[in-house]
C-alpha cells in the first residue's frame, strides 16, 4: 500500500534521510520511531508531496507521491506534527472546507463535519476561531480533517503528542478501529508505550537511516531478548550499535 523505494533527502551536504526502502501492507499499523531529528518528519513530508525527494520515490496505492500528488491525496489522510489553521475560520468551517475540497457535496460535507466534531468532542468549540485552540484541540481538528474523506491510508505525524490522557486513549481506539476496518496507518511517534500497544509493525530510524524493522516480537528477539520496546529503542539508537543490528 505504501512503498518507499530508495527514498532519499539531502539538504545541501547534510543527508536527512538516507536511501530508505520500506513496504507497508494494507491494513498494517506501522509505527515509525526515532530520536528527535532522525528524519521522521522529513520522510512523512516526502510522502505527502510537501518535500521533494533528492532520490528514489515514495508510492502510495502505486501512485508516485511527488509526480502524482493530487491523485495520491484522494487516498490519504494526513496529520502534521504541528497543525496550523487559518485565522478567522471556525473549526466547523475549516472541516467543512476540507470536506468540500475533497469533492464532497456540501450537504454531505456538512453531515460528516457534524459527525466528526461530535466524535472528537469538539462541539463546544466549533464556533471558536481555530487559531485559538489549544494544542490538543488543534490535533483533534487535524485528525478530523485527515479522516473526513474516509481515506484508505492515514499518515500521521505524532498523532498523540499533546493530547490529554483521555483524548490520547480515544485517538488510539479510533486508530485501532480504523486499522481493523482495513485502513493502512503510517505514524511517527516518540511514545513507545503507545507504539507497543497499537502498532502491528515498527521501524526505527536513526540519523536518517532505517536501522531496524519488524514486529515487536521480532525486534525484541533480534536486539534485546526479553526486553521492552524502550530497551530495543535505546539499544539501536546508541551511536556505536547503529550499524551492528541492521538486518
Amino acid at each position: 500500500m505504501i512503498e518507499l523505494q530508495g527514498l532519499t533527502r539531502r539538504y545541501g551536504d547534510f543527508t536527512a534521510v538516507k536511501p530508505l526502502d520500506l513496504t507497508v501492507a494494507r491494513g498494517e499499523m506501522f509505527g515509525f520511531l526515532g530520536p528527535n531529528g532522525a528524519g521522521k518528519t522529513t520522510t512523512i513530508r516526502m510522502l505527502m508531496g510537501i518535500l521533494v525527494p533528492s532520490g528514489g520515490r515514495g508510492l502510495i496505492s502505486g501512485l508516485d507521491c511527488h509526480a502524482q500528488r493530487a491523485d495520491v491525496q484522494r487516498h490519504v489522510g494526513y496529520l502534521p506534527d504541528n497543525p496550523m489553521f487559518y485565522d478567522f475560520l471556525r473549526g466547523r468551517e475549516i472541516l467543512q472546507f476540507v470536506a468540500e475540497m475533497h469533492g464532497l457535496p456540501r450537504t454531505e460535507a456538512a453531515a460528516r463535519t457534524r459527525g466528526l466534531l461530535g466524535d472528537f468532542g469538539l462541539e463546544e468549540v466549533v464556533d471558536e476561531f481555530a487559531v485559538n485552540y489549544s494544542m490538543g484541540m488543534k490535533k483533534k481538528l487535524g485528525l478530523a480533517c485527515a479522516l473526513i474523506h474516509d481515506p484508505e491510508v492515514l499518515i500521521l505525524d505524532e498523532p498523540i503528542n499533546g493530547l490529554d490522557p483521555r483524548a490520547a486513549r480515544d485517538v488510539q481506539d479510533r486508530l485501532k478501529q480504523a486499522a481493523a476496518s482495513g485502513k493502512t496507518i503510517f505514524m511517527s511517534t516518540h511514545l513507545l508505550d503507545m507504539a507497543e500497544r497499537v502498532c502491528t509493525r515498527i521501524g526505527i530510524i536513526h540519523r536518517g537511516e532505517l536501522v531496524t524493522t519488524g514486529t515487536l516480537a521480532e525486534l525484541r528477539e533480534r536486539v534485546v531478548p526479553g526486553g521492552s520496546l524502550e530497551e530495543v529503542f535505546l539499544r539501536v539508537t546508541e551511536e556505536s550499535a547503529a550499524q551492528a543490528v541492521t538486518p
Binding site: Y11, D71, N132
Partner: protein, 764 residues
C-alpha cells in the same frame, strides 16, 4: 564560607543592553541567513539554519534607507520653509532666532511627524498577535519595572521609521538654528527623547491594550490605525509640499502657544537657543519632561501588568447560538455557484478587517491622496479624458491586486500545508483566487466609469475603448499578480514584513506601469500589442509559477529546468534587440539587414542552446525529429499563402498598402529573398514555434497555444502584415504540433514567404 546567592534581579543598564543586543543580533542573523542562502555551495549551506525559508534580498536596506533619509530630509526642509513663510514672514535669514508663532509651528510639525511615524510603526506590526518576547522575557529574573524601562529604551533605539521621520526634521531645525555641521548630531540628540516617547506610546498600545481588548477588537483597531497612519502620513507630508499645504498651515497657525512647552516645543527651543547656559536649561527641561512622561506611562503599564502579561480575554469569546445560526445561514443558495476556495476567501475578507482595509481601502486612500496632493493635474483631467480615467481605474485595481492577489500564498500562511492534502492541483486553487480578485477589483473601474458616464454623458468610441482596455487588463494582471506572488512571498516567515520579496513586488508594479502606458497611448495598434503581450506574459508567468508549486514548501529544491514560454519571450526579445543594434551600427541597406537578421538569429539560437545544454533543460525543440513530414509543412505554407494572397488582393491599391510595399522594396530589394526564404524560417520558427508555442503547449490546449503564439508572432510584424502572418503562425504551429520537429514549420514558413514575394512581384 557558604555565601548566600546574591544574584537578584538584573539591573536596568544590563537588561537594556542585553535586550538591545538580542534585538540587533536577531536582525543580524536574519540578514546573514539571507546572504548565506545565496551562496549555495558555501560551507554553511549544509547546516540547518534556524529559518529554512527562501529569503528575500536586502534591496530595501541598501538602496532605500539612504533614499528615504534624503526624501524625509527634503520634505522636512520644505515644511520648515513653508511654516516660516506662513507664520513668520519676517527676515528669516537675518536672524536665527525663531519667532514665537514659528516655534509653535515647528513643534506642530514635529508632533505631526511623531504621530504619523508612531501610527505607521503600530500598523506595520500585528497588534493581535501574541507578544512573543514579552511573554518569554517575564520568565527571566528581571523586575517588571526594569523590563518595561528596558523595553522602552530598546524600542527607542531600534525604530527605523521613527528615526526616519524625526531625525531629519530635527536636523533641519538645528541647521536653521545655525548649528551648521553639528546639526546632524544635535538633530539625533534632540530626536531621541521624542523616540523614547514614541516607544512608550507604542508599548502602551500593544502591551497595555492587549490586556484590555479582545483579539477581535484589537484587529479592528489595527485596521483603523492602518487607515489613520496613511492619512496622518499624508498630512505630515502635505506640510512639505509647496502650495498644497494651506489646510495644515492653517491648523499650525491656530495651535495654542502651550505647544511650545510640550516635548516637541522644548526640542525646538533647545535647538534654537544660542546662549549656552540657557540652552542647557532647555535641554534639562526637555529631559525632565520626557522622564516624567515615561515615569507616568510605565507606572500605568505596571499597573496594567500586575496580573500577568497574558489575559484570558485575548481568545475570541465563544459566540453562542446567534453566531452559529448566522454561520449556517450564510451557506445559502446565493453562494452555491462559487467554489469552496472563493467562499473561504470572502469569509476571511468579511471577518479580517485588517485584510479588507489593506487590500481594498488603502489603495483608494493612497491613490486618492496622490491625486489630491500631487501637482500632476490628473485629478482634474480624469473626468475629461477617458484614457486618464481608465489609467486611474486600472492603477487602483493593480495596486489593490498587489495587496491581495499578489499575497495569495501569504494569506494561506502557516495553513498552506492544508492545500497539499487535497486531491486538487495547487494551481487550481490559485486560479480560483486569481479569478475572485480579478472580479472583485473590477469594482474600481465600474464605479469610476459610472461616475464618468454621469459627468460626461456622451459616450464616445474613445470612452468605450479606454474602458474596455482597463476592464480586460485587470483579470490579466490578477493572474500576473498571483503568478509573481508565488515567487515573491514567504508564507512561512514569522515576521509580517519579511513575507514579501520586494524585487518581485517591484517587478509586478513595473509591469502594471507598462500596461498603464497601453491604457494611455492613443495608438490602437500599440494598445493591441500591449494587450497581447500582457496576456502572453500572464500565460508565461503562470506556467513558471505552476512548475514551482510542487516545490513551494521545500526549503531548498527548485524544479528541474524545462523549456517554457517565458524562455521564448526572452529569446524573441534578444533576437529583436540584437537586430536593432546591428541596424543601428550598420544602417538599413539590404546587406546589413540580412547580416543583422542572420547574426541575431544565430546568436539567439546559439545562446539558447548553450543555456539549455548547461542547465540540462528538458524538451528543447529539434529541427529533425522522428516524424518530419516535410509535405505537411509545404501544404501548410501554401494554405496560409493562399489566404494572404486574397488579403493582399483586397488591400491592393489602398494607400496603406502602397506605402508598405514601397518601404519594403526601398529598404531591401532582392536581398529580401534569402532573408525571407531561408533566414526568417530558420530562426523565427525556433523561437516562435519551438519555444513559445512549444512552451504554451505544455500547459494549454492545442488551439489556445496556437492562437496565442501566433498573436505574438503577428504583433512583431508591421500592422499591414499582421493578419496574414497570424494565419501563417497558426498553420506553422499546427504542423509543429503534428510532427514535433521544426522541419515542417520551417518549410511552411519558407513556402509562405516565397509565395508572398512572388505575389508581390506579380502584383507590382
Amino acid at each position: 564560607m557558604n555565601q548566600p546567592d546574591v544574584r537578584g534581579a538584573a539591573p536596568l543598564g544590563l537588561s537594556t543592553t542585553l535586550l538591545i543586543r538580542l534585538r540587533l543580533r536577531r536582525l543580524l542573523n536574519l540578514m546573514r541567513a539571507a546572504s548565506i542562502r545565496k551562496k549555495k555551495n558555501s560551507a554553511e549551506a549544509g547546516k540547518r539554519s534556524g529559518n529554512p525559508g527562501k529569503q528575500s534580498s536586502n534591496v530595501v536596506l541598501y538602496v532605500f534607507l539612504p533614499l528615504m533619509l534624503f526624501v524625509f530630509g527634503s520634505v522636512a526642509r520644505n515644511a520648515v520653509v513653508n511654516l516660516h513663510e506662513a507664520l513668520d514672514p519676517g527676515g528669516f535669514w537675518r536672524t536665527v532666532e525663531f519667532a514665537a508663532p514659528f516655534t509653535v509651528g515647528l513643534a506642530f510639525l514635529l508632533l505631526v511627524m511623531w504621530f504619523a511615524s508612531l501610527l505607521v510603526n503600530i500598523a506595520s506590526g500585528e497588534l493581535a498577535k501574541p507578544d512573543w518576547d514579552l511573554e518569554w522575557l517575564v520568565t527571566l529574573p528581571i523586575r517588571a519595572e526594569t523590563l518595561l524601562w528596558a523595553r522602552v529604551m530598546e524600542r527607542s533605539v531600534v525604530n527605523p521609521s521613527g528615526f526616519m521621520a524625526l531625525a531629519p526634521a530635527c536636523t533641519v531645525i538645528a541647521w536653521y538654528s545655525a548649528h551648521h555641521w553639528t546639526a546632524p548630531l544635535f538633530g539625533v540628540l534632540a530626536a531621541w527623547p521624542l523616540l523614547l516617547l514614541a516607544a512608550l506610546a507604542r508599548t502602551i498600545v500593544d502591551t497595555g491594550l492587549r490586556l484590555r481588548m479582545r483579539a477581535e477588537q484589537l484587529r479592528n483597531l489595527h485596521a483603523v490605525i492602518s487607515v489613520l497612519s496613511i492619512v496622518s502620513m499624508y498630512l505630515a507630508m502635505s506640510l512639505g509640499i509647496t502650495g498644497k499645504a494651506s489646510f495644515m498651515l492653517g491648523v499650525a497657525a491656530n495651535m495654542p502657544a502651550a505647544l511650545a512647552w510640550t516635548p516637541m516645543g522644548l526640542v525646538v527651543q533647545a535647538l534654537n537657543e544660542r546662549d549656552t547656559l540657557q540652552a542647557l536649561g532647555w535641554w534639562l527641561a526637555l529631559a525632565a519632561e520626557t522622564f516624567a512622561l515615561l515615569w507616568l506611562g510605565i507606572g500605568w503599564l505596571q499597573h496594567r501588568l500586575r496580573n500577568g502579561v497574558v489575559s484570558g480575554g485575548s481568545r475570541d469569546a465563544v459566540r453562542a447560538a446567534a453566531a452559529a445560526a448566522a454561520g449556517a445561514a450564510t451557506e445559502s443558495s446565493a453562494s452555491a455557484r462559487i467554489g469552496a476556495v472563493q467562499r473561504r476567501e470572502l469569509t476571511l475578507l468579511s471577518r479580517d478587517r485588517n485584510f479588507l482595509v489593506q487590500s481594498l481601502v488603502l489603495p483608494l486612500l493612497i491613490v486618492g491622496g496622490q491625486l489630491l496632493l500631487g501637482n500632476s493635474g490628473v485629478a482634474s483631467s480624469m473626468w475629461r479624458d477617458p484614457n486618464v480615467l481608465a489609467s486611474v481605474a486600472f492603477g487602483l485595481a493593480a495596486y489593490s491586486l498587489s495587496m491581495s492577489a499578489f499575497q495569495t500564498l501569504n494569506t494561506e500562511g502557516h495553513a498552506l500545508w492544508l492545500l497539499y492534502t487535497f486531491p486538487r492541483p495547487i494551481e487550481s486553487v490559485l486560479k480560483d483566487k486569481a479569478a475572485l480578485w480579478g472580479v472583485l477589483t473590477l469594482a474600481y473601474p465600474v464605479v469610476l466609469f459610472c461616475v464618468g458616464l454621469v459627468v460626461t454623458p456622451q459616450v464616445s468610441w474613445k470612452f468605450a475603448s479606454a474602458a474596455l482596455t482597463a476592464f480586460l487588463g485587470i483579470p490579466i494582471y490578477a493572474f500576473i499578480a498571483v503568478a509573481l506572488g508565488v515567487f515573491g512571498s514567504n508564507p512561512l516567515e514569522q515576521q509580517q514584513n519579511q513575507r514579501v520579496k520586494p524585487e518581485y513586488l517591484y517587478l509586478y508594479m513595473g509591469l502594471a506601469g507598462l500596461y498603464i502606458y497601453a491604457v494611455v497611448t492613443p495608438h490602437p495598434f500599440q494598445r493591441l500589442i500591449f494587450m497581447v503581450l500582457s496576456l502572453l506574459l500572464s500565460f508565461a508567468l503562470w506556467q513558471k509559477a505552476r512548475d514551482r508549486l510542487p516545490y513551494l514548501l521545500d526549503p531548498d529544491v527548485a524544479p528541474p529546468p524545462r523549456v517554457s514560454t517565458s524562455d521564448g519571450l526572452i529569446a524573441a526579445m534578444v533576437f529583436f534587440v540584437v537586430q536593432a543594434v546591428f541596424v543601428a551600427i550598420g544602417g538599413t541597406s539590404g546587406a546589413t539587414l540580412l547580416v543583422a537578421f542572420a547574426a541575431a538569429g544565430a546568436f539567439t539560437y546559439g545562446m539558447m542552446r548553450y543555456v539549455y545544454a548547461r542547465t540540462g533543460t528538458q524538451g528543447v525543440p529539434q529541427i529533425l525529429g522522428e516524424r518530419n513530414l516535410p509535405l505537411y509543412g509545404v501544404a501548410g505554407g501554401l494554405a496560409a499563402a493562399a489566404i494572404a494572397s486574397v488579403y493582399l488582393m483586397a488591400m491592393r491599391g489602398t494607400p496603406f498598402m502602397e506605402e508598405a510595399q514601397r518601404a519594403a522594396y526601398d529598404g531591401l530589394g532582392w536581398w529580401l529573398i534569402p532573408l525571407a526564404v531561408i533566414g526568417a524560417p530558420l530562426f523565427e520558427e525556433f523561437i516562435f514555434r519551438g519555444l513559445i508555442f512549444g512552451g504554451l503547449l505544455r500547459s494549454f490546449g492545442l488551439w489556445p497555444a496556437a492562437l496565442a503564439s501566433s498573436a505574438i508572432f503577428a504583433c512583431l510584424h508591421p500592422p499591414i502584415a499582421m493578419l496574414p502572418v497570424f494565419c501563417l503562425g497558426v498553420a506553422a504551429a499546427l504542423t509543429y504540433a503534428r510532427t514535433r520537429s521544426l522541419l515542417a514549420p520551417m518549410l511552411a514558413h519558407a513556402t509562405y514567404n516565397a509565395s508572398i514575394v512572388a505575389v508581390q512581384v506579380f502584383l507590382r
